[in-house]
């Protein structure tokens, strides 16, 4: 007897239940906790769909980073005297949102139900081109080689998002450091946890980045883990957030997209065109680009969570 289908159905029901609960939760805090659980369950779903790369990203970004981002945003709304979510939205807006969500859900369901049999797939082509890249993980090959331009633009979006967050700072606060995350007093237990967890997490993050060439993992997953480690260090007040006009911070923020872009331009000069990697050197170049993307991701995500610079902090 095979129990896996039962577990799959149970998992799907749990995801649906948690999703409903997240929407129905009356408090921001409860909804965010529901969302984090939803992200963790979803990463299990991705594992069951044989997509460990997506599962890692979902666990790190969907469950972890976005959860912290939403929690801090919720806390900021409360302390700013804002209304709890749900009070501010009127009935017409809710109906419109529900109808739109329903349309998207129905559209997705229709697409899944009417997939051709067997489903169209590019997986064999992705695998066939692997030899030319020198990589062992087709996902990494797709991200950094086949559709490298998209991946570069995604990193630029991250930097743009941070620019957006910074742009809501008050004039007098510009160039200063963001306020500490969570505004907690230093706590013995958190300090101990951070001092033990952060070194381990940094090693694991770098490992996930390094094995990404040949196994599930990569710059985004590793970078998200490194970002989480920096966040917990800032939360434990073991290190303060840097001033947003710090030269090293600005350089780290643009390092990923800039190196990516330059590598693409180098393809024009020495190769067959924009983003063409010279044969035989593809893997070293891809790892080189990924290393800088790792840096950018590890710096951008915590700065997004830390929020806009504030007047009180940073001397």
């Amino acid at each position: 007897m095979n129990l896996l289908p039962i577990i799959d159905v149970g998992l799907a029901l749990l995801v649906l239940g948690i999703a409903t609960w997240t929407i129905a939760a009356r408090e921001v805090f409860g909804a965010v906790v529901g969302y984090v659980v939803y992200g963790l369950l979803l990463s299990l779903v991705w594992v069951r769909l044989y997509a460990p790369d997506v599962a890692l990203t979902e666990a790190a970004v969907g469950g972890g980073v976005t959860g912290v981002l939403l929690l801090t945003a919720g806390a900021r709304l409360r302390s700013g005297g804002g209304k709890e979510a749900g009070e501010a939205t009127g009935l017409p807006l809710r109906v419109v949102a529900a109808v739109l969500s329903l349309l998207v859900a129905l559209g997705l369901a229709a697409v899944v139900l009417f997939l051709p049999e067997p489903p169209a797939t590019l997986a064999p082509e992705a695998r066939a081109g692997l030899a030319a890249t020198g990589l062992g993980n087709p996902i990494t090959a797709v991200l950094i080689s086949y559709r490298s331009f998209d991946t570069m633009l995604e990193k630029i979006v991250l930097v743009l998002a941070l620019t957006g967050v910074w742009s809501v700072a008050a004039d007098g606060a510009w160039g200063r450091a963001p306020a500490p995350i969570g505004r907690m007093a230093p706590d013995g237990a958190l300090t101990l946890l951070t001092q033990t967890l952060a070194p381990l997490g940094i090693v694991v993050g770098l490992h996930i980045f390094w094995v990404g060439a040949d196994a599930p993992g990569g710059a985004f997953q590793g970078g998200a883990l490194l970002a989480a480690m920096w966040m917990i260090v800032m939360m434990a007040r073991l290190a303060e957030a840097p001033r947003i006009d710090a030269r090293w911070l600005r350089l780290a923020l643009i390092a990923g997209p800039a190196v990516f872009f330059l590598a693409g331009l180098a393809g024009v000069a020495w190769g067959d065109g924009f983003f063409s990697y010279p044969p035989g050197f593809a893997k070293p170049i891809i790892l080189f680009i990924e290393a800088f993307m790792l840096l950018t991701i590890a710096v951008t995500l915590p700065m997004l969570v830390a929020g806009p610079p504030s007047k009180g902090a940073g001397r």
Binding site: A189, L192, L193, T196, L197
Partner: protein, 97 residues
């Protein structure tokens, strides 16, 4: 030998599942936050520890077994630290009343 190991795995994972179940019942039924926290730590520490113990013979390689143990130790560490923080936050909340 492998049969004995399978029995050991089943027994340990079953015991772990029992602790998770008991912890869940406690989480739902206990009257206040501190006792609920107490119930939860049993599931985290003993439940996961027994599940990991049961999975060790099935891990296949020494590295995989080591990874399982590291996962357990990390959960222990973060569980202990967060329980401490939640407990402290609760006590502060009571002082204010």
């Amino acid at each position: 030998m492998s049969f004995a190991l399978d029995v050991f795995s089943l027994a340990a994972i079953g015991a772990g599942a029992f602790f998770f179940f008991a912890g869940m019942v406690g989480l739902l039924r206990f009257p206040d936050s501190l006792t609920r926290l107490h119930a939860l730590t049993k599931a985290d520490n003993l439940g996961l520890g027994l599940v990991v113990l049961g999975l060790l013979p099935q891990a296949g390689s020494l590295l995989a077994a080591l990874k399982l143990i590291i996962v357990w130790v990390l959960v222990l560490l973060s569980g202990a630290a967060t329980s401490q923080m939640i407990g402290r936050a609760l006590r502060k909340g009571e002082d204010r009343k």
